[in-house]
């Protein structure tokens, strides 16, 4: 068996497989499909301080090799999530990561501060990149100065490890990544969904009321692999790759491109136990490629 233990510096994972926020509910729902202890970590669905109803339907549209979503971070709010986190922590020892959302700096601070005090929480992932909340997909992660200011504010306020989830829609993602690093991020999640547009020909209107929607699935893997390669060249904190991962092969590609770990996303909606299958495939591939430790190949893509 290859050594899949992944050291993020701030958190040691038994393997690099982490289900991504928004595709894994609150973890508990997946306990009926597989043993949650098999995972490296898990990121729960993004949470604001206040309850959020989410966007008006339609909220999903399938594309070739992917899908567009306009869910809008529906959720119960921070105080109702806390008992769910405790319930989940009672079922598994797998590290729990909270995806922190906010409509403004104060809300980000409230949510981050609240979960910073929960002993069941291993780390925070700052979601500054959801494309489905504000008009035209605006979010802090589009701009390096905005990112620096917000990350710094949260960093100064919380003790737990802080991941920052970047947007692939920023004009200069590498600048945003280095801004997050200088502001004190412990790691980067690269990346959230791409902005996409679906058109209804009959009505000549966009399919989604928010106009744009978030594009994910196997189709986006090459784009995010490129980002992970570029970002890991520029920063020295660990990067978690997220984009179109559906197989153990995909995981190795991301690690070769420089990622420390990966998050599984869209595939969780289709195949609830996908993360476990991917983990098994990773073990088999590591054996086939004679990889004894993933650190041997991390970032070893030969240009």
């Amino acid at each position: 068996m290859a050594e899949l233990t992944t050291d993020l510096g701030f958190l040691r994972l038994k393997n690099p497989i982490i289900p991504a926020s928004g595709t894994f509910g609150y973890g508990i729902e997946f306990g009926r499909f597989f043993d949650l202890n098999l995972l490296g970590a898990m990121v729960l669905k993004g949470v604001y301080w206040d309850p959020r109803p989410g966007n008006p339907p339609p909220r999903i549209r399938e594309t070739h090799g992917g899908l567009l979503n306009s869910i809008g971070l529906a959720g119960p709010g921070a105080e109702k999530l806390a008992p769910i986190v405790r319930q989940l922590a009672a079922q598994t020892t797998t590290p729990i990561i909270i995806n922190v959302c906010g409509a403004n700096d104060d809300e980000y601070l409230n949510v981050a501060g609240y979960f910073d005090l929960l002993p069941e929480v291993a780390a925070l992932e700052l979601n500054i990149s959801c494309p489905n909340v504000k008009a035209n997909g605006r979010c802090p992660a589009l701009d390096d100065r905005h990112t620096y200011r917000l990350v710094k504010k949260i960093r100064d306020a919380v003790k737990k490890p802080l991941l920052v989830k970047l947007s692939p829609n920023a004009p200069q993602v590498v600048d945003v990544a280095t801004a997050a690093e200088s502001a004190g991020a412990d790691g980067l999640s690269v990346a959230n969904t791409l902005l996409g547009l679906a058109v209804d020909v009959a009505s000549r209107k966009p399919v989604f009321k928010n106009f744009y929607a978030g594009y994910s699935g196997p189709a986006i893997k090459p784009l995010i692999l490129k980002l992970v390669w570029e970002v890991t060249r520029a920063v020295s904190i660990p990067v978690i790759g997220i984009g179109g991962i559906v197989s153990g092969q995909d995981v190795l590609e991301y690690i070769l491109a420089g990622a420390h770990a990966i998050q599984t996303g869209t595939i969780n909606l289709i195949e609830p136990a996908a993360s476990v299958r991917i983990l098994n495939e990773l073990h088999e591939l590591a054996r086939a490629y004679h990889i004894t430790d993933l650190t041997e190949i991390r970032g070893k893509l030969k240009p």
């Binding site: 339907p57 909220r59 992917g66 699935g217 969780n268």
Partner: protein, 218 residues
């Protein structure tokens, strides 16, 4: 939720209604509408498909009651399943409408089942009564002393039902369709607005809802 197991295209499962379930077999019945249903329809006997289910709730079972089943088009699928499984304990009636005779699926298969009354409608008049399934429901409910209705069909039909159904002792239950991502409550794609002003998930909280729980568009 069904998909073919050996291809990533299309990616998502398709939400399909169960027509029957007996011993080790499940019958799914669907119309070919796009890539997903086409791929499923091209499987041959003995080949595998990838199925996740059964998911969500069902119609209330009732016992010793007079229940009117209201079906529009392929909405007959879950109602036929209800008929198979609940005819023995209840007194069932069926109102079933479609565009024309050829769209009244299973009309012959329904014959052996104990239905106290049947009311068939075709919009083009090619079979039985000309009109829509919603045309005479009030008369049927009153004259047949119906305790509750369960219904499945196009949105427009269900919306119409919400406007016309008179009060009955046990109420009215509709089975909704929605675009779905996962089918097991994770993605929140199939949200439906309820009368309390909150979204619920068709896949997990439904697909069956009391008709008064849904915020029908004005």
């Amino acid at each position: 939720m069904a998909r073919i197991h050996d291809s990533d295209e299309p990616l998502l499962r398709r939400p399909l209604g169960i027509l029957n379930c007996e011993n080790d077999s499940i019958w799914l019945y669907f119309q070919v509408r796009g890539r997903g249903t086409l791929a499923l329809s091209q499987r041959h006997p003995g080949e595998e498909i990838d199925l996740l289910g059964p998911l969500g709730n069902g119609f209330p079972p009732f016992s010793g009651k007079s229940i009117l089943l209201i079906a529009g088009g392929r909405g007959i699928v879950p109602l036929f399943f209800y008929l198979r499984t609940h005819a023995a304990e209840n007194n069932l009636l069926l109102a079933y409408g479609a565009r024309s005779r050829s769209d009244l699926t299973f009309i012959d298969e329904l014959k052996p089942w104990p239905l106290r009354q049947t009311f068939f409608y075709t919009e083009d008049g090619s079979f039985s009564r000309k009109g829509r399934v919603t045309d005479n429901l009030i008369d049927i409910i009153i004259s047949e002393k119906v305790d509750a209705t369960i219904s499945c069909g196009p949105d427009a039909m269900l919306h119409r039902l919400s406007q016309i159904l008179p009060d009955t002792p046990l109420g009215h239950f509709v089975s909704l369709e929605a675009l779905m991502g996962c089918g097991f409550g994770i993605c929140h794609s199939c949200a439906v607005m309820t009368s309390s002003g909150e979204y619920q998930k068709v896949c997990e909280d439904g697909p069956v809802f009391p008709i008064t729980d849904i915020a029908w568009p004005n």
